[in-house]
């Protein structure tokens, strides 16, 4: 099997890596549809979604999450050490979207089925 790879109109927006502009637009439509089909959901509205956090399914309230909030979800008993800046990665496999979040960047919206990894990679 011959696999060709190509690059077209790569777009980075709000820390999201989108394969191409057309797909981004398509994805945006899908996301809008998804939101419209469900009840409006916010952290305050207590609407829950299921995400996979460090390999384990957890239910969280829908809404934007900051770096610090995602860290706290992964390590509820630990505070972020000063200067800690390991990227938090997220992936929406069904939308072909992946990205990362660094300290100080704007919060990201979480989606049902999203895979979030908060793993420190220091060992060698």
């Amino acid at each position: 099997m011959l696999i060709l790879t190509y690059r077209t109109n790569t777009v980075w927006e709000n820390n999201l890596f989108v394969k191409d502009k057309g797909e981004q637009e398509h994805m945006g439509n899908e996301e809008n549809k998804g939101t419209a089909m469900h009840e409006p959901a916010t952290k305050n509205g207590a609407h829950e979604i299921t995400v996979v956090l460090n390999g384990t399914e957890v239910k969280v309230k829908k809404g934007p999450y900051s770096y610090e909030e995602l860290f706290a979800l992964a390590f509820p008993d630990e505070a972020i050490p000063p200067g800690y800046d390991q990227p938090i990665t997220y992936s929406r496999p069904h939308l072909h979207v992946q990205g990362h979040l660094l300290p100080g960047q704007p919060p990201i919206e979480l989606y049902d089925g999203e895979v979030i990894n908060v793993v420190s990679a220091h060992k060698s």
């Binding site: 390999g55 630990e78 050490p81 390991q86 990227p87 990665t89 992936s91 990894n117 060698s124």
Partner: protein, 397 residues
Amino acid sequence: MSSPHTNLELEAAALRRENYNVSIVDDAVLIARDIPYVTSSREVRRGVLAFPVEATTEGVIPSSTHCAYFKGDIPCTAAGTPLNTVAIAQVTFNLSKDLGQATLQLSCKKNHPAPGPSGYASVKEKLETYIAILEVHARAIDPSITARTGGVPPDTATLGPFHYPDSASARVGISHLNERFLSQRIGIIGLGGTGSYVLDLVAKTPVPEIHLFDADLFRPHNAFRAPGAASNEEVESGESKVNRYARIYNVFRTGIFPHLTAASEELRDILSGLTFTFLCVDRASESYALAKLLMELSIPFIDVGMGVKLVAEGTPCLLARVRTSYWAPGDAAVISAPAAPGDVEDDYSSNIQIAELNSLNAAFAVIRWKKALGYYQDFEREAVSIYDSNVQTLDRI
């Protein structure tokens, strides 16, 4: 049993593995460059030793005489007086086209000569006897000087640092890309799982120098995260990691330099002479200190790291992350602070038999280094790349 010519090549290669800068010309004369000696003005210089050798189907022996020839000034003691441990005579002896002639003959007979025309049992014994006579005085002035420079003589330069040619690169027409490596002096700090795989990959490029830094011994658990296979005797021998790897890779190439330390304070002088460093240190705090030192010295580097989490829900399995962080002068800092809470949660220390993550981490690091050299095309120039096993993604920053 090999042909006489093959035996000559093997003899020269064996001496080069010990980092002597030697060649055998015209199938008849051994030439050793970079030999330290002292002049009458007490200056340390490097000269050339040579003596005839004879190849048989059984091996190679020194031929003709116990004498050796020397190109350089009259060798002296550290005090500047001519050596009296060796008889010196003025002669002319043709060395090679590029070296011209030796003008001195040195004569040192063994007290207990071995059978044969030279009185020396082997080429190595004769070479090291004459080197020792000259080098000891040079070392009295400069203790760090050595004839074991790892240099490669011009007449074997097509081999680069290797003991035999890379015929595959030549066949596919990419030999010219190897020129990118020729000015590189590489450091690998930390010879654990990832560092040992980095060495395995970098050793196969023609970089002239690879400096290894680690203070630890090679233990049984290391064998499960290292390239190749180690015997029980090896893992129980108490050999240091750096000496072990230098020994192993010296059969393949020259220019491997072991340093039995990984402490940043002791590394400053050595690191300042390097062109690139792979930072493969386990502890985040050490990695952070070394990264700061490398940035201070303006030496580009790649910091590697991996994290493994045990996913306990359902059928237990692992979630693995592999990270490479690249820095070059002018870039923003890429290495995170020493404290790392993931270390507390990390299951890596209790689950060490994951050599594929070490080798993957090393491969990403070496590819990033080669992209920086222009060996691979690079549109991204990423500072950080992160591979997560559960979503099979390679994110870059």
